[in-house]
């Protein structure tokens, strides 16, 4: 095999300019794929991080039917204290769960004594909430960034409402809500902070302490609208989801229907469509690379066979077996792939390094100044190289088979 490699390499050197040009084309394709993948992957990871770590959490657990009616924030679809305790017990047992936050979600009227508007509210335990969605603190643009701004008696108001109603930190507001039984109640609260809006569901919700919500809604026990769950490792999302789902699926009501529903962030955020689009674009760029490698290698190898017909005739006459001739030409195509993919990988790593030294900043929705820090995984590099090499071999096969099937007598007569 070493001899075949040597001869194949020498043959590539014979047409140096053509070899360099073809390798450059493959190199450009590899760089496009790897840099695009690293940038889009970094963008996707950042946006998923923003959404899950500042609002949604990785997984959410609700009473069956809650998500279908989530726009109404129904109080008649909260988990009763017994069910909430059951969910907490399951979460407690799961070693892959890092934190969870029980929430009561409801709609209310917000008044600053001059104007009134409606507001969506999350009633939370601030310590548990910040442990589950740690980027929430970063969204507090005015007021205390820690759990202090959601202490009993305080409320976090979304930025747009605060601007519209000219509400600032320390101002008193009144929250009026209708509870599950239809009775209306109100409580005065002090604005503990102003919350920056974020893209996605819950991005414009206000926050208050769960004990205030209980008072307002006249709840006697620990009822919960949803549990937001944070995992120790986001990559285990599917397996943990399956574990929780399996554990909770055994809990059924009298009609035999499961009492709970479990969703990953993907089912709760429209950003998943953007993520899918990014994935599709990445696949498109990869398909483009396949065609670049296929056409360029095939073109070179067809030319190589055509230009060496007499040579093929001579080695065939000398007794070189068709399989050996095939291997010789496939090896040449393979080498073209190796040259292109290696050069492409090196250039891509340099490009990614440069993008980390001089990062790209961008705005997404109302989030501004986001910094992209692309990275390349070993598996992504290995996959791209493997694709190029396999395609190079496939592209060389047709010319190689043609060479191996040449009648030596006809090939020797070729002028």
């Amino acid at each position: 095999m070493r001899d075949t490699l040597r001869i194949a390499f020498r043959n590539l050197r014979r047409y140096q300019r053509r070899t360099i040009l073809t390798s450059l084309l493959i190199t450009a394709g590899v760089v496009s794929v790897l840099v695009f993948t690293s940038l889009s992957g970094s963008f996707k990871a950042m946006m998923i991080g923003q959404i899950t770590d500042s609002m949604l959490g990785h997984i959410q657990i609700h009473k069956k039917g809650f998500v279908a009616s989530i726009d109404n924030l129904p109080l008649n679809l909260t988990m009763p204290p017994k069910d909430a305790a059951l969910v907490e017990a399951h979460l407690q047992e799961n070693p892959m769960v890092q934190a969870w936050s029980p929430r009561v979600k409801f709609g209310a009227m917000l008044s600053n004594f001059e104007e009134t508007t409606n507001i969506r509210l999350n009633a939370v335990d601030p310590a548990m909430e910040l442990e589950t969605v740690p980027l929430l603190a970063g969204r507090v643009i005015q007021g205390e960034k820690g759990p202090g701004s959601i202490q009993p008696g305080k409320i976090l108001i979304p930025e747009l409402l605060a601007k519209g109603m000219k509400i600032g930190v320390g101002d008193q507001v009144v929250i009026v809500a209708t509870n599950r039984d239809g009775s209306v109640n109100g409580i005065p609260l002090v604005v503990g902070g102003i919350l920056e809006s974020a893209t996605g569901p819950g991005g414009r919700d206000g926050y208050l302490h769960i004990s205030d919500a209980k008072t307002l809604l006249r709840m006697t026990g620990n009822e919960v609208s949803e549990f937001a769950v944070r995992l120790k490792d986001f990559n285990n999302l599917e397996s943990v989801m399956a574990q929780i789902e399996t554990a909770l699926s055994e809990e059924r009501n009298q009609a035999g229907i499961p009492r709970f529903e479990v969703h990953t962030w993907e089912k709760l955020s429209p950003f998943v469509n953007i993520a899918t689009m990014i994935d599709m674009m990445t696949v498109s760029v990869k398909v483009l690379l396949v065609f670049i490698a296929l056409i360029s290698v095939m073109n070179v190898m067809i030319m190589a066979v055509f230009e060496r017909i007499r040579e093929i005739g001579a080695i065939s006459a000398m007794g070189t077996l068709p399989g050996r001739i095939r291997t010789l030409f496939v090896t040449e195509g393979f080498f073209l792939g190796v040259l292109g993919s290696l050069a492409g990988t090196v250039l891509s790593l340099l490009a990614v390094l440069a993008l980390n030294i001089w990062p790209i900043t961008f705005n997404f929705g109302r989030s501004t100044g986001l910094i992209l820090r692309p990275s390349l995984s070993l598996s992504e590099i290995a996959f791209t190289i493997a694709v190029v090499l396999i395609v190079s071999i496939i592209a060389s096969l047709q010319p190689a088979v043609k060479a191996s099937r040449m009648e030596p007598i006809k090939a020797l007569r070729h002028v």
Binding site: D3, I7, N11, G313, A314, G319, T320, R324, I409
Partner: protein, 233 residues
């Protein structure tokens, strides 16, 4: 038993609508260790006959046995194996691989056809390059060699696998007279040393004079045999 034996050998091929009768039923025997030439004008069928003996082309009719092998029974793969083991080729245009040095060109059949170990290859190639007087030029590439030097490398390449038969189609056609005679002398010396049978085609009277056995072809028919040739034409 003859090394090459032909009985009623016929080769027809088509050129468009016309059927060309290239060889019209020839009989001959060639003994092992002979130095044989097929002579005749262009188009007489010399190359066709050599191609059939070299298993590069199949007879239309008749029997052809080379080294006890009925060549009509060989398929593509076994034909290649048979050539690689039994026959060496010397081409009019040398057909050296331009990306390989003189040494590597001679080494090629041992390396890519017979898969011999590197130590054996080195020994055999060096000995043959020395025998054809190309030892000092072994690291040169074909484009750095003269026509005569290239053909000497080609002779060494044809002999390196120790074949029983070497076929040379117009081996001196692209060489000047002195160089041609020198190449023929080398071929004859190699025959003397190794016992390999040499069969070559030529239409150059001075070259054909070097042959020990001469078969004359005309319009696909063997007319007579010169010297010690045994023809049944």
């Amino acid at each position: 038993m003859s090394l090459v034996s032909a009985r009623g050998l016929v080769k027809n091929y088509r050129m468009g609508e016309i059927e060309v009768k290239a060889i019209r039923g020839v009989d001959f025997d060639i003994e092992g260790g002979s130095f044989v030439s097929f002579v005749g004008p262009s188009g007489s069928g010399k190359t066709t006959l050599l191609n059939m003996i070299g298993c590069l082309d199949a007879p239309t009719e008749g029997d052809l046995t080379v080294a006890n092998q009925d060549v009509s029974l060989l398929d593509r793969e076994s034909s290649a194996r048979f050539r690689g083991e039994t026959i060496g080729f010397i081409f009019q245009d040398f057909n050296l691989m331009p990306v390989l040095t003189a040494f590597e060109n001679v080494e090629y059949p041992l390396m890519m056809v017979q898969n011999r170990p590197a130590s054996e290859r080195k020994k055999r190639v060096s000995a043959l390059l020395d025998a054809v007087g190309m030892d000092e030029m072994k690291d040169k590439f074909p484009d750095q060699l003269s026509g005569g030097q290239k053909q000497r490398v080609a002779v060494a390449r044809a002999l390196v696998t120790a074949p029983r038969l070497v076929l040379a189609d117009e081996p001196t056609a692209n060489l000047d007279h002195a160089t041609a005679l020198n190449i023929l002398k080398i071929m004859k010396d190699m025959r003397d040393n190794s016992g390999t049978t040499f069969i070559f085609s030529t239409h150059d009277p001075k070259v054909m004079a070097q042959a020990e056995v001469t078969f004359t072809l005309e319009d696909g028919t063997l007319h007579d045999s010169g010297k010690e040739g045994r023809s049944r034409a």
